[in-house]
């Protein structure tokens, strides 16, 4: 009798388990923290009986999303994240119920934002050459977000990212970082390129122009700071000529920043210093007076 009861219980348990569809089993596996296994269970079913099942695609989306959160490669081509997005998009195309539609949409939004968050994170722990990855992440974000919000405008976020990328590169130029010359030159070119891009995205903001001016100016000053007693008079003159070309370039950008924001103390201070370096004494004195007048007013 006891044996018969055990057989019955075993049949009930196994039967229930076998009765579960791949979708339900996958949901259970996700719940148990096994998204990889959930994907394995679901994948064959998605090209067969569940191919047109929006709920199944939604569960697959969750399984891939969990894999993405587990691995978090930070790469724009992260396979789990892209697979998750494709699954949620497929779910929405198939006319899901309202609950699945809401889940799919909010997951797609979260995954889209993750691209920008990772682009931002790249600027915080930046290495030479990370620019391309950060920009690719940004492009992914824009594409994904536009799908959900076709009217979206990315100018402010792009502006912010370009400024951050420029400054992440600029931080690498610090002599204490000690990057070697060919790489250093590339990094400086990235600084300039990112500020120029920021200036194109939001041309009415003076900050990219100010930062471009300071970047060029400081690059010239860096060459002067590197002079030592081994430098001959001829080299001294060559360095000075090179610096003057940098300072003139800086002046153009600082004047552009001043044209956009003439009451900004940093622009006045910048013009005072650059004119001083170019021996434009009257102009330097004029901007110094403007700066002091501004400070007195405050």
């Amino acid at each position: 009798m006891k044996a018969i009861r055990l057989v019955l219980i075993a049949w009930a348990v196994c039967g229930a388990a076998w009765a579960q569809s791949p979708v339900e089993r996958a949901a259970l596996l996700i719940h148990q923290g096994q998204p990889e296994a959930a994907v394995e269970v679901l994948t064959p079913a998605m090209s067969g009986v569940h191919r047109e099942n929006p709920h199944a695609w939604c569960i697959l989306g969750f399984a891939q999303k969990a894999r993405y959160y587990e691995l978090r490669t930070g790469e724009p081509e992260d396979a789990a994240r892209l697979a998750s997005m494709q699954a949620f998009q497929r779910c929405l195309q198939l006319g899901p119920n309202s609950e699945d539609a809401e889940d799919a949409r909010s997951s797609l939004e979260a995954l889209a934002k993750s691209f920008y968050q990772e682009a931002f994170a790249r600027t915080l722990q930046f290495k030479p050459g990370d620019d391309e990855v950060a920009l690719a992440l940004m492009r992914r974000y824009e594409a994904a977000w536009s799908d959900l919000h076709p009217e979206a405008d990315f100018a402010d976020l792009e502006f912010d990212l370009f400024l951050r990328l420029a400054q992440a590169n600029s931080a690498l130029l610090d002599p204490e970082v000690g990057i070697e010359e060919p790489v250093r030159q590339e990094v400086f070119e990235h600084v300039v390129a990112h500020y120029e891009q920021a200036g194109k995205v939001v041309p009415a903001d003076d900050r990219p122009f100010y930062n471009l001016a300071v970047s060029w100016y400081n690059e010239g000053v860096r060459k002067i700071r590197a002079i030592n007693r081994q430098v001959t008079l001829t080299e001294l003159m060559r360095i000075q000529a090179e610096c003057v070309s940098y300072f003139n370039r800086a002046l153009g950008y600082m004047e552009a920043a001043y044209a956009l924001s003439s009451m900004e103390p940093r622009n006045l201070n910048g013009l005072m210093i650059i004119h001083r370096a170019l021996d434009h004494q009257e102009e330097s004195a004029r901007f110094k007076a403007e700066l002091e007048a501004l400070k007195d007013r405050d």
Partner: protein, 187 residues
Amino acid sequence: MNARIRALLSFGAFALAGSLIAGTVWRTLEHDAVGVQQEVIDDLNTTATMNSWYVYGIAEGCDWPESARTGTFRIGVMDHPELLKFLMSNCHMNQIGNQTIEVSGVSDASADAFFHILCVGDVESDAWKAYVGDAPTLIVTLNASGVPEGAVVNLKNVGGRTKVMMDLERAAKLKISIGNELKSWGQ
């Protein structure tokens, strides 16, 4: 409770923690570049720094008469505290030939001291003229209009570039030999 709801609930807890962190970052970033720092302009006085290297180049590029080749190599600076500062940091206590460079500020009261090079910040002041004599003091001025009488070298800044102007006759009179490199840049 079916498996899907359980799965979603479990996700809910996971996603809540994640979104609290991510949401905080997102809120800080969204449409807000205020947190981005600006570049800091290097406030180095580039003209004074360059002049200090030119003065060092002049010291290296000239030969003084035998009588001035012993003891310390003295560079005096009059009426130009910025140039003094950079000469102190770039040249002071370094060797030139077998002589140690000593840089100091010069006041009117010390007119009887000997300097190999005397840098004059203000040519309008008469104080430096007390050093114009037979002693082999190479007077360097920073004058916009040329080499004033009694000086040997003038460093004229034109749009950030230094033009070296020289009075070779005065140098010859003081028996200071100007090297070829310096001569080639002199006007």
